[in-house]
Amino acid sequence: MMQTKLMKGNEAMAEAAIQAGCDAYFGYPITPQSEVLEYLAKEMPKHGRVVLQAESEVASINMIYGAAGAGFRTMTSSSSPGISLMQEGISYIAGAELPCLIANVNRAGPGLGTIQPGQGDYFQATKGGGHGDYRLIVLAPSSVQEMADFVFLGFDLADKYRNPVMILSDGAIGQMMEKVTFGKFKPLKIDKPWATVGKPASRERNYITSLHIKSEDMERHVEHIYRKYDEIKKNEVRFEEIMTEDAEYLIVAYGLSARISHKSVNILREKGIKAGLLRPITLYPFPEEKINQLAEKMKLVLTVEMNTGQMVEDVRLSVNGKVPVHFFGRFGGMIPDPEEIVNKFENLINKNHAL
């Protein structure tokens, strides 16, 4: 049954976890995402599910490792410094090919930084984050509705590919209230014959490990997970295009930056400048081909982020030199103003014409 509520992004994510059949949530408080743990501490017991406040993010990610290994749908969430603490565990989870969902409600760093929103964890999220060769599937919501929807999608993708999935959100989307509709999806059900639930006489023992001590075995294992990532790249690239059909100028932005850039595109259009927006929804796999195709008909590309320039590197790789790729960013917890982006764009266009 469809149901619409007014909720904070973090709460929407928590409610979606319950509806998506999350069996267990393990977490540790950190601003700006503590509402997830608070909401679930209240609601999960009503559904007979497990919720546990761990002694640290290090412990919570390793509880996830155990619970995911036992074949359960399990989730944790945190914000940047806490996600850094989880990286070791995430690497083990990726190595052991366990499905789980990790939400990062990104705040600005480095270090303790600030509790205000940021997008400075793009590299960490999309390039692995912990030690070794691995990737996460990374989903970037830009609304409270997507905070909820991507929990369903994230769990399904995690189960489908036996890979950890990260929702890379930020403090603004986590904290703001919007309308959110539930009841749109039903969770994917997948058998997990590999889970460690106790060995019956009928099968060999199951064990969860990321250890392959022989180099030949380890190489084979990494090849195997990279073939999986190729499949993910083939099947799971998601993005949103806004006014790109006739666009001559392209903005590439995700999450909160994309919302703001959408407004900038509207202002530019009002001024008669044919601007469009490409919003990557999956940051990994990155919509390389789409950006490359769009670049064909663009005069220039501007990447807007709430950091000092991270995704812009992937945009440049995707555009592959076809047109100039510029960058505009605010950081340290500051949020770009749509007009700032418009000004940047106009300056670039003028400069481009002068050239």
């Binding site: 640290s56 490792y65 155990g66």
Partner: protein
């Protein structure tokens, strides 16, 4: 295929025994006429004959493979005792083990049960994740002193403080074994290791940490005991403690903690016998053996249920 070198050695042995290398026909009945290999093939060991009763064998829960442990190491014994307990209690289908990082990292290669190989020090957190989702299962961690008492002390204390209904088997051999003998938090004062070449100094590193005593003060711990496996008597006592740790899980009354003072001859630079003696002479001074916390009062009645 055997190398040339190998067959040369064989010829040499036979020559030493003053037997012709290829003279099988005539010498059949002579006592020294067969190689050891031929002897084994011709005369089956008597214990395989049906008329003899098998009185001891490896438990089915232990895989029939050779282990990577050094000669005289306590790990192989502790593995066997735990697996015997699982076998005897008939709980293989309901048991999930968590292996550490350290010498026992390959425990799942030997234990024929479902297992999870945890990150260094995080076994208690991983076990928490499993047990919370499978509350009717028997969940245990198997951890060394570096894993449990150094990097994983926070996870250990908090899991026990929450009273997680798991068993923790803690192998304390006072060194980092896998990385070849560095100082552990449980290394004895004056003990020479690769990272304490002049002996552990109390002013620099303090006293060896007594985890069993420490966690016995937490209300979440239900049963805490310290055992060894360096003699037949010790092995029998340790086995009993391990059986208790599994049985008590059913009561859901808290964590069962079995510390085992283990021999590490390789890193102690001793023979296996010297290592066993070192436990009796030195290790037990810092880590006295015996029960540290036993179920009391009302809980004693509960024990009858799981006897």
């Amino acid at each position: 295929m055997r190398s040339e070198e190998h067959s040369l050695v064989e010829v040499e042995i036979i020559t030493k025994k003053d037997e012709p290398a290829d003279g099988k026909a005539d010498a059949k009945n002579e006592p020294g006429s067969k190689t050891a290999e031929e002897h084994v093939f011709e005369e089956k060991p008597k214990c395989i004959n049906e008329e003899y009763e098998v009185v001891y064998h490896k438990p089915d829960t232990l895989l029939d493979v050779s282990m990577h442990y050094c000669p005289g190491c306590a790990h192989s014994l502790l593995h066997k005792l735990i697996m015997e307990a699982v076998d005897e209690l008939g709980i293989q289908e309901k048991t999930v083990g968590v292996a550490p990082v350290g010498c026992a990292v390959f425990a799942y290669d030997y234990m024929n049960i479902d297992m999870s190989e945890a990150a260094h020090g995080r076994a208690c957190a991983t076990a928490t994740g499993i047990k919370r989702l499978l509350p009717d299962s028997y969940v245990f961690t198997y951890q060394g002193d570096g894993d449990l008492a150094a990097i994983g002390i926070a996870e250990t204390i908090h899991a026990i403080n929450r009273g997680e209904n798991i068993a923790i088997f803690f192998m304390n051999n006072a060194v980092y074994g896998m990385t070849s003998g560095q100082m552990a938090p449980t290394s004895l004062l004056g003990m020479k290791t690769t990272t304490s070449p002049y002996g552990r100094d109390v002013h620099e590193y303090g006293e060896p940490i007594k985890v069993s005593e420490l966690i016995s003060h937490l209300p979440g711990s239900f049963y805490v005991t310290r055992q060894a496996v360096n003699s037949a008597t010790a092995v029998r006592k340790a086995k009993k403690a391990i059986m208790n740790a599994f049985r008590y899980q059913k009561l859901n009354k808290g964590t069962c903690f079995v510390e085992v003072i283990g021999n590490c001859p390789s890193n102690w630079k001793m023979t296996p016998l010297e290592a066993s003696k070192y436990i009796d002479d030195e290790m037990v001074k810092a880590f006295p053996l015996g029960d540290i916390k036993l179920p009391k009062g009302e809980d004693l009645k509960l024990l009858e249920e799981v006897k």
